[in-house]
């Protein structure tokens, strides 16, 4: 399973690199699937409301009204119809790939389970919306959908009389059933919207809008496809016949041929088992996660930078409880904290320069503290040699995810506070630092990449101090399939540093601090 996942992860990464070249990392559709889903939903909702103006909700005239808007009013209502259909289909595609991608990149387990679980009803509501929609056209496909659906429902012991009987003969057709479908086709999408909203409640700053350029491209392409290949109805439904050959929407209705081929019991069991398995996936097996971040009130002034930077809404600003002269303090919601360390990197107290006493900061990871990180940095720096010494701070989910000499692997590069970069350079621990994040198109920890870019560019608090020369920092965003590029860029950077005079303002650490680092390094080697 783990082997399969890493193969798939590389596969996704490769395909996404290809799309990076076509779209640019920020417009990459595969890095925008959730936001695209929202965008497509709004297109479908808007065109749906527009279509409703022209649609006759009675079973007798429904078909004619759809024909009329498709043919006589093709340039607006017909266009809306095509958009309504194609955007729904694209939404199914975006959703399925999104699901697979979250699974492959392992962003669904541990304390990130909530978005996964709440995605499951979203999945079913999307399908149900589509099924009820196709019903309303009341053409042969609608008849096929109506028959197959009701026959499947009749396998459940709920209806006194088989509901498929509503579609047996022209005389048995009831408009009540059709009215129910019209109602469901409005109600289910509303439930879908509610489910989509719940889906993003446990993460902060969820992206519900794709990058503007991508949104424009998507809309233009959908309009073009709608004009070039307008959506049409099939022959009108006729209950004196049975639909023999139907054109199927393979996105929304691909299950229908399967329903026909297998016994109803198998279908229902399959749907149930699939849903339960999907819901249980975050615990099969559960991810082992480090303990949640903890707050040290003595070092916290309630500035809320960590609250703003946590990608998982795991930190709350609450009234001060210890009598210190600040209005607020922060509290970590341990059930949501994935131990990414981004908060530690955001805290102004996170400075490795302090020498007296234990190194404690406002918010820290118990299993990977700032003090531990500082020790590791000193130890790793001790192993660097020659001109152009480069120390790498790498994200565990990118090209630099595996530990090696001179590299420190972090849960997220944004765990490194800017003061640590300053510390490494101004204490002369290395000639330059390579910050090796995961792929640029999307941060594994959602917001870490953006925060790091902004901090290094001195645009986001905590700022990187001016005294750190920008040319001593190399920032590489590279996914798991780009280990070669990371190596090449790091080597070129080392050469470039070697060609420069070394940093002259460095004030080296005291001997015993260096020795402590050395000792840790030796200990670690022995342990390995």
């Amino acid at each position: 399973m783990m082997g399969l996942r890493s193969v798939l992860r590389r596969g996704f990464d490769r395909v996404e690199r290809g799309l990076d070249r076509l779209f640019g990392p920020d417009w990459n559709p595969l890095a925008n699937l959730g936001p695209l889903g929202w965008f497509l939903f709004w297109i479908v909702a808007g065109t749906g409301i527009y279509l409703f103006i022209f649609f006759d909700t009675g079973v007798v005239d429904a078909y004619a009204s759809v024909q009329w808007l498709t043919e006589d009013h093709w340039f607006h209502a017909g266009l809306a119809r095509s958009l309504h259909r194609y955007a729904s289909d694209l939404m199914v595609l975006a959703m399925l790939v999104h699901l697979l991608r979250e699974l492959v990149f392992d962003r669904y387990r541990g304390r990130r389970w909530f978005s996964w679980i709440t995605g499951v009803p979203v999945l079913w509501f999307v399908y149900l919306s589509g099924i009820t929609g196709y019903w309303l056209v009341w053409d042969e496909l609608a008849q096929y959908v109506a028959l197959t659906t009701t026959e499947l429902l009749d396998a459940l012991p709920v209806f006194a009389e088989p509901i498929a009987r509503n579609f047996l003969t022209p005389e048995s057709l009831s408009s009540r059933f059709f009215t129910l479908m019209v109602f469901l086709h409005i109600a289910i999408p509303l439930l879908l919207l509610l489910a989509m909203w719940i889906h993003i409640q446990r993460i902060s700053q969820a992206r519900t809008k794709p990058a503007r350029g991508l949104a424009v491209l998507t809309l233009v392409a959908l309009v073009a496809a709608s004009l070039l290949m307008p959506a049409t109805s099939q022959a009108p439904a006729d209950l004196a016949t049975v639909p023999a050959r139907v054109g199927i929407d393979w996105f929304l209705l691909s299950l229908y041929p399967v329903i026909e081929l297998l016994p109803a019991g198998v279908i229902w069991t399959g749907v149930l088992v699939f849903s339960v398995l999907l819901i249980g996936l975050p615990w099969l097996p559960r991810r082992k996660e480090a303990p949640a971040a903890v707050v040290a009130l003595d070092h916290c002034n309630g500035c809320a930078r960590c609250v703003a930077d946590c990608p998982y809404s795991a930190i709350n600003l609450v009234p001060r409880s210890d009598g210190a002269p600040f209005p607020h303090e922060v509290e970590v919601n341990a059930d949501r904290c994935v131990a990414c360390g981004i908060c530690m990197g955001a805290c102004p107290s996170s400075t490795p320069f302090r020498r007296s006493g234990d190194l404690v900061t406002g918010i820290d990871l118990p299993a990977y503290s700032l003090a531990e990180l500082r020790t590791q940095v000193i130890a790793a720096a001790g192993g660097l040699s020659g001109p152009g010494r480069v120390l790498t701070l790498a994200c565990g989910h990118g090209a630099g995810g595996l530990p090696e000499a001179g590299r420190i692997v972090l849960p997220c590069v944004a765990m490194a506070p800017p003061a640590l970069l300053d510390f490494i350079i101004s204490r002369g621990l290395a000639d330059g630092i390579c910050i090796a994040g995961c792929a640029e198109r999307e941060c594994w920890n959602r917001l870490g990449g953006e925060w790091m870019r902004e901090r290094v560019a001195r645009r986001r608090d905590p700022f990187l101090r001016e005294r750190v020369p920008r040319e001593r920092l190399l920032v590489v965003w590279a996914g798991p399939s780009e280990t070669g590029r990371l190596r090449r860029e790091t080597a070129a950077f080392a050469e470039q540093l070697a060609a420069q005079p070394s940093y002259d303002k460095a004030r080296p650490l005291s001997q015993d601090e260096l020795a402590k680092g050395e000792a840790t390094a030796v200990q670690r080697e022995l342990a390995e």
């Binding site: 799309l19 070249r21 076509l22 779209f23 640019g24 417009w27 559709p29 095509s82 259909r85 194609y86 289909d89 694209l90 595609l93 096929y144 026959e151 009749d154 012991p157 006194a160 009389e161 088989p162 498929a164 009987r165 047996l168 003969t169 350029g213 991508l214 491209l217 998507t218 233009v220 392409a221 959908l222 073009a224 496809a225 709608s226 070039l228 290949m229 959506a231 049409t232 209950l239 004196a240 016949t241 049975v242 639909p243 023999a244 050959r245 139907v246 054109g247 199927i248 929407d249 393979w250 996105f251 229908y256 041929p257 026909e260």
Partner: protein, 168 residues
């Protein structure tokens, strides 16, 4: 901005190609739900088995024990007996089944919904139903000869009030 122009063109072309593929797959390739030269016969109705056989008269002693407002002479099982249905197409029996009463207490009607795809052409169809467990033969019998055209829907319903089986 030159970079963005490239993304608009290349990304736009890719998105358009995807949208056209989506538009195509939204209605094609077609699905043959019923083979081209077939018609569909469906037998569907609900009917209750006759439970009068289970009824008996209460004895005067039994009646005396009941409160006055519940002194009804006849008692019947709440459960209904199953009905028995036989279908014969062109001389071959395609269904011979006891259909149990539905509902939690078995007090509801029995029901049937069966599909029989048939090649287009002439067919002799016979349906027989027994709703009284005591009877040996059948309580209702229906026979017909039809010529089905491809994709035709032919339905056998049951309406005791109009004399039994209805073919349409």
């Amino acid at each position: 901005m030159k970079g963005r122009l490239r993304h608009l063109i290349l990304g736009g072309a890719a998105t358009l190609a995807l949208s056209l593929a989506v538009a195509y797959l939204s209605a094609a390739p077609g699905w043959q739900s019923l083979p081209a030269d077939m018609a569909l016969l469906r037998v569907s109705f609900t009917h209750s088995g006759d439970r009068s056989a289970s009824c008996r008269e209460r004895t005067p002693e039994e009646l005396a024990e009941l409160p006055p407002n519940m002194r009804i002479a006849k008692v019947c099982d709440r459960r209904r007996p199953p009905i028995y249905v036989e279908i014969e197409i062109d001389g071959a029996t395609v269904l011979a089944e006891e259909l149990p009463a539905r509902g939690i207490a078995g007090s509801g009607p029995s029901r049937i919904y069966q599909r029989f795809p048939l090649p287009a052409g002439r067919h002799d169809i016979a349906v027989r139903l027994r709703d009284r467990p005591a009877t040996q033969g059948f309580d209702y019998v229906g026979e017909t000869q039809v010529t089905l055209v491809p994709a035709q829907s032919f339905v056998i319903d049951f309406r005791p009030e109009s004399g039994g089986f209805v073919f349409k």
